[in-house]
């Protein structure tokens, strides 16, 4: 059947672990954690929480969202993700519009992640050796998610260095960037209804209106 569905079953079923990757434990000032160590730590924390929380095991999506908000989301740079998804349209948007797009895009990604996390079933994550030169401010952390059945899925994290820690600005599942994958969709919305049209569409989706 649909080849894409096959593909995406893996990519998407695994956005889940992608989500499990970054958290917000405060680090002592000055002691900056390496980006791969950070991905690993956050993934392990989120997975441990998911496994030990009976409400989540029972499929409580609100509870999953709480965990994401507390442990995962502070480690993402959503403004940069929104800018990447907007492409050349980002500069043409007013600061107020940029903020609304960032907020709505964040909400959309969180909805997607929490849905995917709900399917988490004892996957394990292999962390590949990090290739990084001294002074690099952007790196890709590569992981391979091993599943009980089915092929392993590669999930990579685009990480950027900030003043006091690393933040994630892209999640690439089996070769598909979850951020740049939106570029044509954002473009189309802007072409049809301007930047405000895009904001409205994102807000509608977040309120549960089905996509066309």
């Amino acid at each position: 059947m649909s080849a894409f569905h096959t593909s995406v079953r893996r990519s998407a079923a695994l956005v889940l672990i992608a989500a499990a990757a970054l958290s917000c434990v405060a680090f002592p000032a000055g002691a900056q954690e390496a980006p791969d160590a950070m991905v690993k730590r956050v993934a392990q924390e989120v997975i441990a929480t998911i496994k030990s929380d009976p409400a989540i095991q029972a499929g409580n999506e609100a509870r999953i969202r709480d965990v994401l908000e507390a442990k995962l989301l502070p480690n993402f740079d959503f403004a940069r993700m929104a800018a990447l998804a907007m492409g050349k349209n980002w500069k043409g948007a007013a600061p107020e519009q940029q903020k609304r797009i960032t907020d709505e895009f964040r909400a959309l990604l969180v909805r997607t992640y929490s849905g995917a996390l709900n399917q988490y079933r004892n996957e394990t994550i292999d962390y590949k050796p990090l290739r990084m030169n001294a002074g690099d401010t952007e790196v890709t952390v590569r992981t391979l998610v091993q599943r009980a059945s089915g092929a392993p899925i590669q999930i990579d994290y685009g990480m950027e260095k900030k003043a006091d820690n690393w933040k994630c600005y892209d999640v690439i599942v089996a070769g598909v960037s979850l951020v740049t994958n939106y570029r044509d969709e954002f473009n189309e919305q802007i072409k049809n209804g301007g930047v405000d049209g895009l904001i409205k569409t994102l807000a509608d989706r977040n309120r549960g209106v089905a996509a066309k």
Binding site: M1, S2, A3, F4, H5, T6, S7, V8, R9, R10, S11, A12, A13, V15, L108, L109, R111, T112, G115, A116, Q119, S149, G150, A151, P152, I153, Q154, A174, G175, V176, S177, L178, T180, N181, Y182, R183, D184, E185, F186, E188, Q189, T201, L202, R205, A210, A211, K212
Partner: protein
Amino acid sequence: MSVTFDRRGAPMWRVTAALAAAVLAGCAAAPSRDDPFEPMNRALYEFHDVVDTAVVKPVAQAYIDVVPQLIRTGVSNVFNNLDDLFSAVNGLLQGKLDKFGDDLGRVVLNTGFGLGGIFDLASMVGIERGNEDFGQTFGAWGFPQGPYFFVPFLGPTTVRDGTGVVVRIAVGPVGYIPDVALRNSLYGLGAVDLRAQALSAGAIVDTAALDRYLFIRNAYLQRRRYLVYDGKPPPEPEEP
């Protein structure tokens, strides 16, 4: 996420070819570089989606509900074993001898000791699937991907990948089974197996996409590009 629909979408290749011919004959305005026939593709996608929702998805769900996991895994493994054989061939065609060796080893091991491929012993001992196909081979040889098409029941493809599917179907082996009923049953089982595996992903696309057609198209093209470059694609050129 391997594009292994070929072996099962088999009867569809004639449709693919016919569509390609029909469409190439009447070139429309190009909404995007990769998808010059977007209006037609959208119509085909919407048709596909209606039938998929009404018929195919419920059948796949029933398959999951009724057939035990153990048996479903065995079914997937048998089809995967066939694909591994062709992955080995394509590894060889691209000069990737390590993948060729791995895939050939997988097929020998799984066919010989895994009861004809029912058990994926090779994965248990850590031999990874090469995941090569004819579309990737054409890409590695430098053929351009050509226009994108959405083919109902087969899914997203390009001229290059679709050609790969045609080659894959032509060499068999399911197509050479003389018993028509058995042959069609195998195609049907393969299709249901693939669709069932894709159910959870479909739910996520429903949540994530603003426009499912575009989401699916772009994810497919990104994924194929990634495969052709073996996981290390160069930065994409900007759209003009």
